[in-house]
Each structure stands twice: as C-alpha cells, then as structure tokens.
Subunit: 391 residues, 2 copies
C-alpha cells in the first residue's frame, strides 16, 4: 500500500425531505447570501427550487439565482456566475442539480476569490481558496457531492479539463434519493455507468497488497450490479435509488481509492468524446471502458480475472486466466447494454473520421506531450487503436 | 434504508514515518500548547515519543505530558488530565497510543471546557464542546481515531460507559502501520477481533434494503479474514498491517453503518466482563460474540446465512438455511480461536458465580431498566442464558 492522506469533511444529510434542511445547513456553514445555481427547468417544474427558497427564507438567508447549467458545463456560465456573485456580494454557492451543476458551482466558488482567470485552476493550479459550496444532489453519478474535483469545458476550443483542491469540497451535501426518481431511464443509466467507471478507474492499479480497497471497490460494484437494473425497471424504487446514491458518493470520495495508484485513462479518453460531440459522459464511458480494458488487459490478467470472479460471478479458468479476464469485461459490456447504454461510436453519435482529432486533443492538448498515463501509459498509436475498437 | 447524517471530517495521514508530521498537523489545526497523553512505556522505549516531541519542537509547539493510560481507561486519570491541562493552559490534546489512550484524551478534551463533572457526558449528555484532539495510532482496533465516541470506566463502581459528540472527533489521525509491528500477537489478535465486532454490530440490523452497507461491511470482514492470520504469523508484515489499519478505521467511522439500525449488544454484554475482570476488550468480544449470535440467530436466519455464504465461504443449504447460519457463526468462532483468542469464561478468566452481578450491572446499571436493546431486545433472563453459554 502506498502512503496517503485522506480528508472528507463534507457533512452529508441523507434521506426523504432532507432538502427542507437547506436553510439551517447554509447557516451552520456560515452563509448569509447564497447563489442558487442550477440547470434546466426540471428543478423548477418539480417544485424543488421553491422548497429550497422557502427553506432559505425561513432562516433569513438572501439569494441570487443562476440557472442554465448544461451537461458538460461550460466556461461561459462560470464567468457569468463569478460576476453575479461579486455584484450581489454572495458568500455561499448552493448547487441544486447533478455533477455538472456542482462542478460549475465549484468553478464559480474558486473564481470569485481569485484575481486571475479561473481557467488557471483547470490548467493545473491547485485551488487553495474558494467560497463555501453546498449541494442538493438530483442525480447519483459524478460523486462531485463528496469530492474536491470539478470538470469544465472551455467554450472557445471545447477543451474539457479538471481542477482540484480541498477548498472546493462541499461543506454539506443533501442526498434525497426521492429527488432522483423523476430522472429519465437514460440519465439514470448514465449515472450508474459513471459510478462504475469511478470504481474501475480505482481498481486498475499497479500497487500491490491493496486488499482492503480492492474489497471495498468490489462491494460497491456488486451494489451497482444488483441495484442498477432495479432502478431502470422501476424508476420509483426509493430503496434501490438510495443504495445507488450512497454507493455513488463512496465511489468517488476516495475512501476506497486511497493508498493505490489509479488509472483514469477511460475518463481521459471519454472526455474527448463528450467534449467534441457533447454526448452524455456516462454514455461515452459505456463505449470507452470495454475497449480500454480489452486493450490493457494483458498488463495484469489476474487483476481482471479477480474482478471477473468476485464481481461478475465468472468461474475462474485456472488453465486460461485470460479467458476469465475477458469474460468479466464482456459481462460488464453486456450489463451496460442491458441498462440501455450505447455500445459503439454509431450508437453514441461519434464519427470514425474524427479519430485523429480526438487523439491529437487527448495526447497533445493542454500540456500533454504525446501520451496519457495511468494503469498503462498510452501513446497516440495506442489511443488510435482504442478509439478504432469502439467503432 | 433509514434517513441519516454522516460527518467524518478527520484528516488522515497514513503511511511510513507519518508521525514526523505531527508538529505541522497540530499547527494546521490550531494547537500551540499540547498535552501528550499516552499509556505504558512502549511508546517511550520505541523512541516514538521522542520523535513526536522533536516534531512538535521543530514547529515551536510547547507540551506537557501525561502517561499511564491503561486498557479500559479510568476516570481517575481523566480528572488528573483535566487539572493538568487547566494548569498548563493546554489548547490541544495529542493521543499517542491505542483506543484507550484516545478515549481518555477525548474525555479530557471535553472535561477541560466543561464546568461540571465530565462523567455527565458518560451518563448521556452530548459533548458539544471540547479541546481539539489529534491522534497517533499504535494499534488497529478500536476505531476511535475516526469516531466521535469514547468509553471510560468509573473507578468507584467499575461502571464502563460511553460518550459521544462530533466535538471529540479527532482533527487529525496519524496512521503508520509500522508502529503496530511491535505489538505482541495477543494484542494484535484482540484488535482484529474488536474490528470484526464493530462490523458485526453494524451487520446485525433490522433495516431492510441496505445492500450498499451490507456489501461494504462484508468487504471489510473479508479483509480481516484474509489479513488477520497473516499478521499473527508474521508480525512484521507491513502490508497486512496497513490493510488492517485502514479497515479498522473504516469499520468504525460509520461510512458502512449509515442508514441502518445497528446492534451493539455484544459490546454491551462484553463491557461488563472487561469492567469486572479488567480483561482485554477484544478477548471478551471473542467469547461474547458467538454466544450472542447463536442466541439471537433465529430472529433473522437469512441475515446470518448471508454473512456465512458471502464472508465465511459456506455453501448455502437451501433446505436448511439455519444450518448455514450456524456454520457461519462456528467459522467465526474457529477463526478467532485460530488467531489466539479465548473461547470461554475459563480461558478469559471470568467466573460463572458472577453471572448475576454481570446481568444486574448490564441490565439495570446506569439508567437501564431491566433490558438492553439492539438487533433483539434482551432482558435479564436472556442475558443470563447468554453468559451461561460462554461458560
């Protein structure tokens, strides 16, 4: 096991009607004037936004509003949010939505207290100071509700990049599984895929002797395998939603990823797809993961055999472990198809002719020098082959 | 799943030589004058205390010292610590040791800022204010390094009781697995048993649809089953120590116990044993758990069958699930014996003639009215039968 630090100070309030505690939580964490940041009309139509405003008003907390966050959140709205916060003297950012809204909120929170261009943080600068952020989660997926990370797409060149820093960890996150019951099946499935990807990215490690985190990751994958199809079949299943929601947080607050090197190449390879085609991140991951895993499998057959046996219920082929490893990847792919995810470029809406552009952006964009590193270091030739496997 | 809140803001620094960061961590969390609280001579002899003092001195942090914490920590030393802190104007408590030292430190931290008798907190009063506490852990066991709990024994009547409050959660905890390599095998085994008990207490729930926390608990039990014997066989196995150390924290910071009712009757029943005989808590639990589980098994056979199959590798007997449930309990008991734990009153040093006293203290002491509640509510007759099963 590698040396590590772990710090997850977010206060989680989980359960039915938890959003009615928003006002008291903002107060507890020092907010007096809030920017409510959200996406489309669903939080308005469902009445959630009104309940949140009521809760703030009851505690005497003022607010400004900024809607319009879209999936793969953009830099333009972040600049707008920063200006609005300065003008309205906002001292707390409240994200009402999913990972995109939370990531946009984190970017605004960091940008308000920074004299330079907020994009500096998305070019490698650590976020050391930010307005406090709270979240009300409406989709179990990104894990941003318990993470110090944010991903934003710069509009002028569609560059999608991440920033990090403990300063943008949410002070509190409200997780009410009932709020996710109105999601369309496709979005629920994208969330399930994203959570499973966060687990696989941590599972694919070059560290030795990491039994405890292996087992924790497998536990969360088993949960997703059991609960995912239940949610797709019955969107109103509160209990299945609840199990997925906690798994989604635990998958990404890093309690199951500490002390081990991690991969993240599936995310890197996917980010170019969602940046170029504006496809849902989860859908992109569903196409990306099986291709990446088959390409890198031989780097550590036993690791892929282990997850095949422990999570996917494969029988170990002791004469040919590679067959077991491959069967586990195929079962993952079949699982993702079964919940409605795309399998290839065509289903995703991606275009084979763009592969050189995808590879160029991936391996040479934003300071990279011809390759991406993780479980296996992948150069332009490797990445070209992987994208071709998805066609 | 039940509604819940979860809050685990402790900063963990994990790995080799992590204790050399003590000074900077105390500084980060606002300490300028520290009480170093510890147990016996081993932290002195090993040189750990000197390294800690060097680290504090380098950061210009002053300190007072109070050693002498013993297993099942006593109220007398807590009173002494409170007085010392007031006299020395201490503003930070640093625990160097195991669960007993950490629990004693938490009691002192709460007592210093309280005008009444600190025992009020161990009689049901919530701890809302305390000096900040940091820990340097020397045994993986109690999980106190990441919990808001403390257990102290009152000397005049040997009453062993717990207190809780977010205010006594450690601000930081330093977890260096190498510090646990010098532990005698018996103490290592007691720690392993205590960690497994923390997991079983959470596993025995009356909540339905708790797949995610079931799976997480099973993951940690599987880790203990794999790594426990490796540590007993080879005390210097850093990797096995590391896996157990993180499992011990995760077993008790409640990330795997949220949203479900929990048991804690094995702990309650054991506490009377360690209070009366001053036996090691883990050793007492090894004798207690199998008896309690066999007694309450029929309350939910499928729950015991599930852990038997998923953790202990039993084959499910679909015609007779009770046989599977019982086999799982027997495998747990055999496992504990295999790592050197006692099986019965005689091996523990307990006396059958004391059972009426144990039952009276257990069911009627400290405000209880004839029973203890948990997975199953147990009255005096039940508890008498359970203690007799241990003879």
């Amino acid at each position: 096991m590698e040396n590590f630090t772990f710090y997850s100070p977010t206060y989680f309030m989980f359960g039915k009607e938890a959003e009615n505690k928003t006002g008291s939580l903002v107060k507890r964490f020092g907010g007096s004037k809030v920017l409510i940041h959200y996406g489309g009309g669903s939080v308005v139509r469902s009445g959630l936004l009104d309940r949140v405003k009521d809760s703030l008003t009851k505690e005497g907390i003022g607010f400004a509003e900024l809607g319009g966050v879209r999936p793969n959140p953009r830099s333009g709205l972040v600049y707008e949010g920063i200006e609005l916060c300065k003008k309205e003297k906002v001292d707390f950012i409240l994200a009402v939505g999913g990972g995109s809204t939370i990531d946009s909120s984190k970017a605004i929170a960091a940008g308000v207290l920074y004299s330079g261009d907020f994009w500096d943080f998305y070019s490698g600068k650590l976020i050391e100071e930010a307005l406090p952020v709270g979240t009300i989660l409406t989709i179990a997926a990104a894990g941003s509700e318990g993470s110090p990370d944010s991903v934003i797409t710069r509009e002028e060149d569609m560059m999608k990049r991440g920033a990090t820093g403990d300063a943008i960890r949410p002070k509190f996150s409200i997780l009410n599984p009932a709020l996710t019951q109105t999601l369309p099946a496709f979005q629920s499935a994208c969330g399930i895929t994203d959570i499973m990807a966060h687990l696989y990215e941590r599972y694919l490690t070059n560290s030795k002797e990491v039994e405890v985190t292996d087992r924790l990751i497998e536990a969360l994958l088993l949960t997703m395998k059991h609960e995912g199809p239940r949610v797709i079949e019955d969107p109103d299943n509160y209990e299945a939603r609840a199990n997925i929601m906690w798994a989604g947080m635990m998958a990404h607050n890093n309690s199951c990823g500490v002390g081990r090197t991690q991969d993240w190449n599936s995310h890197n390879i996917e980010h170019e797809l969602s940046a170029l085609y504006d496809v849902a991140h989860g859908a992109g991951l569903a196409v990306t993961m099986p291709a990446v895993f088959k390409y890198v499998m031989k780097h550590n057959i036993m690791r892929f055999a282990q997850v095949a046996v422990r999570v996917w219920g494969c029988s170990m082929d002791f004469e040919n472990p590679e067959a077991t490893a491959l069967e586990g990847i195929n079962r993952l792919a079949d699982f993702l198809t079964s919940i409605g995810m795309p399998r290839n470029f065509a289903e995703l809406g991606a275009n084979e002719a763009d592969i050189p552009t995808l590879v160029e952006n991936l391996c040479c964009g934003n300071g990279r020098e011809g390759s991406i590193s993780g479980f296996v270091t992948l150069d332009k030739e490797d990445c070209t082959k992987i994208y071709r496997m998805m066609v």
